[in-house]
Symmetry: C2
């Protein structure tokens, strides 16, 4: 994959494996922004405190849940003696999310008190009486036999596919997994066909296990994209290095077209008008589980890369990174999670679109959620009062300009709306969208993707090739 000038690297140690890089590498992090565990005296976890001008993480500090490097071997040996729980791919994504502090101040998979507050209040009250947002249950399901295996143990080892211990969950609490109630309160429906439910809940166990998580080795996917997976701490460092005085996050799980680019450029302009000197964009594609008909992460990253190469977005003021969370498609409930996690990564502005995290109703011919509810719920959500919500302005193809532009209701006849479905149909048929809808390089990636999809005998999608 060719280089993207605006991207930051995951860790400097990865550089050697890359070619043709002209990344700006955050080697010289301001020391004051990273409190080493030696200095804080905490054991087995790195705790970060407020950096410069950035918004504070939820709960006042970023909770990272890594075992100290020097303790890893010891912990691995400890883990081998514990009852084992095998993690699914999505479980592992949540371990990743938790370990890096996206869900701060959560210290592990939810115990029942946290689960109930999430389901009923979309927020959790902390010991000091303050409230943080938490709308999506981050839970680990086990079945009867696993529960029996755990017996009276107070800790368990979380192991990967090959039984290697990934993490330890300690001071555990096991409680009932009422799937119906969890689904109804999270999605506002129990209709069969919800992608995350089918994938991760329906066949999961009847118990949930919560506890304090410590990750032995940071989660890596070895898919060529780990270098894009910056943790909240790393993103905060990068924003500080760039002297950002505002960070605006754009969550996406679709190809970027020029309407998106217009919106992001316009947002920066508005922030400058508001008096900010250096607003930085966090372009933050979701990297965890997505439904089968979404464009896979690899192809999306390739498309984003082409868009950035085309210079549609300014590399100096854009950080592209992958958000490791799996996707729930839970509309107004999930958009809160998407926003809250970005606070922890240092974003104080959040761009929210029409029907965020929405999808079609699995059974009925309508959208599952009201298109305006995401924005409304987000703006009223407990624990998100500090976050500035920026509603998405509607962009459409302006025939008079041969370009994407903000829709002008005084001359609707000049605009064409190109829906996601329309875009996919064009790409599948190798047709071109109107000039100016998407940069040609980005469009080519999309066409290639659908081409590979059609060619794939077993429906499995090929990885994109470097070009």
């Amino acid at each position: 994959m060719a280089a993207i000038s605006s991207l930051s690297l995951k860790t400097p140690t990865k550089i050697q494996s890359l070619t043709k890089t002209h990344y700006s590498i955050p080697l010289n992090l301001p020391f004051s922004c990273r409190s080493k565990s030696k200095r804080t005296g905490s054991i087995g976890s790195r705790t970060r405190i407020r950096c410069g001008l950035l918004i504070e993480p939820d709960g006042g500090k970023l909770v990272e849940l890594f075992v100290e490097e020097s303790q890893r071997e010891l912990k691995r040996e400890d883990a081998l003696k514990l009852p084992k729980i095998k993690l699914t791919k999505i479980d592992l994504e949540w371990v990743h999310v938790l370990s890096e502090g996206w869900a701060s101040p959560l210290k592990g998979f939810m115990r029942e008190d946290e689960f109930l507050q999430t389901l009923h209040f979309n927020s959790i009250r902390l010991e000091d009486g303050s409230v943080v947002n938490m709308s999506v249950p981050i839970v680990l399901a086990i079945d009867d036999s696993q529960k029996n295996l755990i017996g009276g143990s107070t800790s368990v080892a979380l192991v990967d596919d090959e039984n290697n211990p990934t993490a330890i969950l300690s001071d555990i609490e096991i409680y009932k997994h009422n799937k119906e109630e969890r689904i109804a309160r999270t999605w506002g429906t129990t209709a069969p066909g919800l992608p995350y439910v089918d994938e991760a809940i329906t066949h999961s166990g009847d118990w949930l296990i919560g506890g304090d998580l410590k990750v032995i080795d940071p989660v890596k996917y070895n898919d060529g994209l780990d270098r894009f997976r910056l943790s909240p701490a790393e993103l905060r460092d990068e924003f500080t290095r760039r002297n950002a005085d505002a960070v605006f996050a754009f969550q996406l799980r679709n190809p970027v077209h020029n309407g998106h680019a217009l919106l992001m450029t316009d947002t920066r302009r508005r922030l400058l008008e508001m008096g900010y000197k250096n607003p930085v964009l966090l372009l933050h594609p979701l990297g965890g589980y997505t439904k089968a008909d979404d464009v896979p992460l690899h192809w999306r990253m390739k498309q984003h890369e082409k868009v950035l190469e085309d210079g549609v977005l300014d590399p100096e003021t854009t950080v592209v990174s992958i958000f490791p969370s799996p996707m729930h498609y839970a509309g107004p409930t999930e958009v809160q999670w998407h926003a809250k996690a970005r606070i922890n990564a240092g974003a104080n502005f959040y761009i929210v679109g029409r029907d965020p995290a929405g999808m079609s109703h699995p059974l009925e011919k309508r959208d599952l959620y009201d298109a305006d509810h995401g924005k409304k719920v987000l703006s009223m959500a407990p624990g998100l009062e500090r976050l500035n919500i920026l509603p998405f302005r509607v962009a459409a193809y302006d025939k008079t300009k041969n370009a994407m532009a903000f829709f002008d209701p005084s001359r609707p006849q000049d605009f064409i709306f190109i829906s996601g479905t329309k875009m996919r149909t064009l790409a599948k048929n190798k047709e071109s969208p109107p000039d100016g809808f998407m940069c040609p390089g980005g469009w080519k990636v999309l066409v290639e993707y659908y081409d590979s999809l059609a060619a794939a005998e077993n429906g499995r999608v090929a990885e994109p090739v470097a070009s």
Copy 2:
């Protein structure tokens, strides 16, 4: 109906219609506790401020939504010119609830912002940033034809069965009624057979209408029980008159047995031990819609009366009144509403039982809610931090004492648990429960009720007769 010495009257004007009363009538209300509209300058509503030692209402003041008596005729004439919405029986119960300020600071049926916050957060943020609990949607549904009828009008008249205007809803907002989402988020299930859903939602309109409510005439039922329907303001006056320094509320919708009585007596004892000088019990049966197999309000009130006559509870420190809300059977969601409404009536302690507002799952052989979730959710609920939650201690029949007693786990063999089902079966078969389970007069009422039920040809239950 014979008199109950501990009951307060609804209004002194009703006394004339009663015989054999030896009620304590709150004729001499402390003037300082009632802010007349003349003094506050508010028009068309009575606003109450904090009384003595009682807990403050949600939002700081009790919001009553009555048209001033002098303005009623004028408003009635206004109403006749407005588009009309006919209220169902349950709608009217909500008008009653709203008008008396049980849902303070709500000023009428919910607009969409309030509805969404209720569904997602079980709480509403006020303009000053503070949060009040609100877990159950208080909404008014209309159908397409009613919506068309309203057209561009900004106010509507709410009319009763006979088209008499009951109230005016002004500054209205009409928004979509997504029934599936409302049901899923309120009940945590969409299984068919939820009583309130079948009764009030399934066949209701596809739109909700919110706005500011003004009630022209206070809602009366003319069923002989209106005198028991004290408003929050009247209850506060009564507690103040009795110099209560703590008020503990007991919500019920079932016959009272000696286990309940033990609990209530024991609660008072504990509050005295805590240093309160005069804790007063609000024995507060729910009076609105209940499901078909619950004992109807008339029979329950008759049963409560017998229990009180038997002297099981101390009339000096007990206020019996009817809570006008309809029942949702929404478990942990609804118990918050039950508690919040009682704050508005002056209660600062709330007794919560096992599985409050719970019922069997309509389809599966299990309880709909985990029996402990109600208590847990209540104790964590936003906006209820000021309320003291008193968990119900388990009482059972102690064979060694021939009386109801708190269950002693060290000698389980000495206790019999008499479930509601068991109690109903005994009463239906005209059998007696063990001595000391319920006072004989109260039991007799239950037997009579089930007798009348069996005898009723068309399934309609007879009213209890005075004895």
